[in-house]
């Protein structure tokens, strides 16, 4: 036995320490369960309030002053139009930037600045992007409150997320694949286009769809752009005025009549269903096509 360790003392204190350990394990578990409970209550509330107002008419009606006639058609179609603009623009810019940073960029001041800038851009509040869009797209370029103006604003908003996702996907492609391609005499761009990108596509798509679902749920920039809420027509092109799901929900939630609270909850159910579908596609792609090296 070591002289200085009092065995009796150690055993006596051990029990107490073990009890404290157990207690804190439960405290930590409860903290984790709090997050799960919050999600549970939130989802339950939306179903409880919104389910009764969810019907075929709700999907196919335009907005209305009367809660029982109010529908979400314009907003639902508007959100889809928004996606049609945001998806190609943000993918093209995001993947292009990621390829440049991962495959071409040398370690120098300019490229460090670009990287630093992207991580800072990810932290800019979405409402500030709204102010940018209002000044540049809505007013200076005179695009008005169109699908295009909102789509460009949203594309810039989710650009950092897509860049980071694409960078990670490209980085995960093993060096051996590139070297084998060069060894066969392929040029750099051929290697990127035919070897690196195909292997990285599942990762890029998964990250991009998640980013896209953020654009669908984002409200603040649309509010600042001045996107209207009472819209009785469908957009007929990207220069047409439109409204989107979160805008419509925001308008209903603000109204004082109690019935509109239920309409808002029904709208939230539609929005959440939309997002669940998008996310399921992302998870499906991740599980089905993910390459493991």
């Amino acid at each position: 036995m070591v002289k200085y360790v009092d065995h009796v003392q150690v055993v006596k204190r051990m029990n107490g320490r073990l009890v404290v350990n157990k207690m804190f394990k439960i405290v930590f578990l409860l903290a984790t369960l709090f997050a799960l409970a919050a999600l549970g209550v939130l989802v339950y509330r939306m179903f409880d309030q919104g389910w009764g107002y969810l019907s075929a008419d709700f999907i196919t009606n335009f907005a209305s002053r009367f809660p029982e006639k109010a529908g979400i058609k314009a907003a639902l179609i508007g959100s889809m139009w928004l996606m049609v603009v945001v998806a190609p623009i943000s993918l093209l810019l995001g993947v292009g930037t990621a390829i440049y940073l991962e495959e071409y960029a040398k370690q120098n001041r300019l490229n460090d600045f670009i990287r630093m800038n992207i991580s800072n851009l990810a932290g800019v509040p979405s409402i500030v992007f709204g102010l940018l869009g209002l000044t540049i797209f809505v007013r200076s370029l005179a695009l008005g409150k169109s699908v295009l103006a909102a789509g460009l604003t949203m594309s810039l908003l989710i650009l950092p997320v897509i860049i980071v996702a694409a960078q990670e996907a490209i980085r995960a492609v093993p060096k051996e694949l590139r070297e084998a391609s060069y060894g066969m005499g392929a040029t750099k761009w051929q290697t990127i286009l035919k070897v690196v990108l195909p292997s990285a596509v599942p990762g890029i798509l998964t990250g991009s769809i998640l980013a896209l679902s953020r654009a669908v749920g984002e409200t603040a920039p649309l509010v600042v752009l001045g996107i209207p809420v009472i819209v009785h027509f469908l957009p007929n092109g990207i220069l047409s005025e439109f409204t989107a799901l979160p805008m419509q929900i925001f308008d209903w939630a603000k109204r004082p009549q109690e019935e509109f609270q239920y309409v808002a909850a029904a709208g939230i159910l539609v929005l959440m269903t939309f997002l669940v579908i998008l996310n399921s596609i992302a998870v499906f792609i991740r599980n089905k096509f993910q390459n493991r090296y």
Binding site: T32, F34, R45, M46, I114, N117, L159, W189, A265
Partner: protein
């Protein structure tokens, strides 16, 4: 075995040489990096666009309202017809009240959840809980705002009788729930990257799991945890829809959390949904408030960057 022969018998070397000599290919090799560099510049241009837009419109605002009044005024009354007042302090205080409550909710819970996930939970439990946190992080803020207004506020009113319909407490708590997954998952990442050898050393000396978590893992992962908290604070400051729906529209310079407030973001929303015409002082005021907001979050993001760079422990 019969091998297929190409029509012309060329060695691989010759094939490569032939392919290399095509002019169009050479042009593509030269042009692509330039095109990709241009796409990379768009993100830089976005930042410049934001900064210049905010600065120019804010300068325009300061031709109508004095800088001193804006920075040190304690009354924000832009809609009072006779004598509008533009002192930003009440809006900043409103933002800080909500942020402070959110941090009180999210930091203890988030770090506790991170400790549970990284130190106590089995692999299966972790794989079950992490997706739920991801879902929580992916819920649109408008949904949280609606939840705060129609559920959290009425529940709180049962407990605190004097609570107004619009207050700082309810959006504060809900913003806390919103940033909780961010703190939990970033802190968990930081804790998981602490090498197991350190845990095993402490366990071998007779530590309990709790002692390992508090005395070994937390200090080792501190930079990552701090950075996650700072990033979460930045998110809370810029949060818009929750405070617009549940916080109210009365900017006040006091420390009361049960009364209606207004944050910087909620003011921008209020003006945007109202009918202030283009070119009015009120129109320019949203840029000055947006600029203040931008500076706050920029500071937080740089601080997070600094913390994770400067204090990172390398193993």
């Amino acid at each position: 075995m019969v091998m297929k022969q190409p029509a012309e018998k060329l060695s691989v070397q010759e094939l490569i040489a032939q392919s290399r000599s095509k002019r169009s290919k050479k042009v593509v090799e030269k042009i692509m990096p330039i095109l990709l560099f241009i796409t990379a510049l768009i993100s830089v241009l976005t930042t410049f666009g934001i900064v210049f837009t905010l600065i120019f419109e804010t300068i325009e605002f300061f031709t109508k309202v004095s800088v001193i009044d804006f920075l040190f005024g304690t009354e924000w009354l832009p809609f009072s017809g006779k004598e509008p007042m533009y002192g930003i302090l009440p809006l900043i205080l409103g933002t800080l009240k909500v942020t402070f409550i959110a941090v009180l909710v999210a930091v203890p819970l988030g770090i506790a959840a991170a400790i549970f996930l990284s130190e106590y939970a089995s692999d299966r439990t972790r794989r079950l809980i992490k997706p739920v946190l991801e879902v929580l992080a992916g819920i649109p803020t408008i949904v949280y705002g609606f939840f705060a207004l129609t559920f959290v506020t009425p529940v709180l009113q049962e407990i605190i009788p004097g609570l107004k319909i619009f207050n700082a407490l309810s959006p504060g708590i809900v913003v806390g729930i919103m940033i909780l997954p961010m703190i939990a998952s970033l802190s968990e990442d930081a804790m998981t990257s602490v090498p197991n050898a350190m845990r095993e050393g402490a366990l071998a000396l007779g530590s309990t799991k709790l002692e390992v978590a508090i005395k070994i893992v937390l200090p080792a992962a501190l930079s990552g945890i701090l950075a996650s908290v700072v990033l979460a604070v930045s998110r809370a400051i810029g949060e818009t829809m929750i405070v617009s729906l549940a916080g109210g529209a009365t900017p006040k310079f006091d420390f009361n959390v049960t009364d209606s407030i207004q944050t910087m973001t909620a003011y921008i929303v209020q003006v945007s949904t109202g009918d202030a015409g283009y070119g009015t002082t009120i129109y320019y005021s949203i840029y000055s408030v947006g600029f203040t907001l931008f500076l706050f979050t920029l500071l937080m993001n740089l601080l997070a960057h600094f913390i994770s760079k400067r204090f990172r422990e390398e193993y």
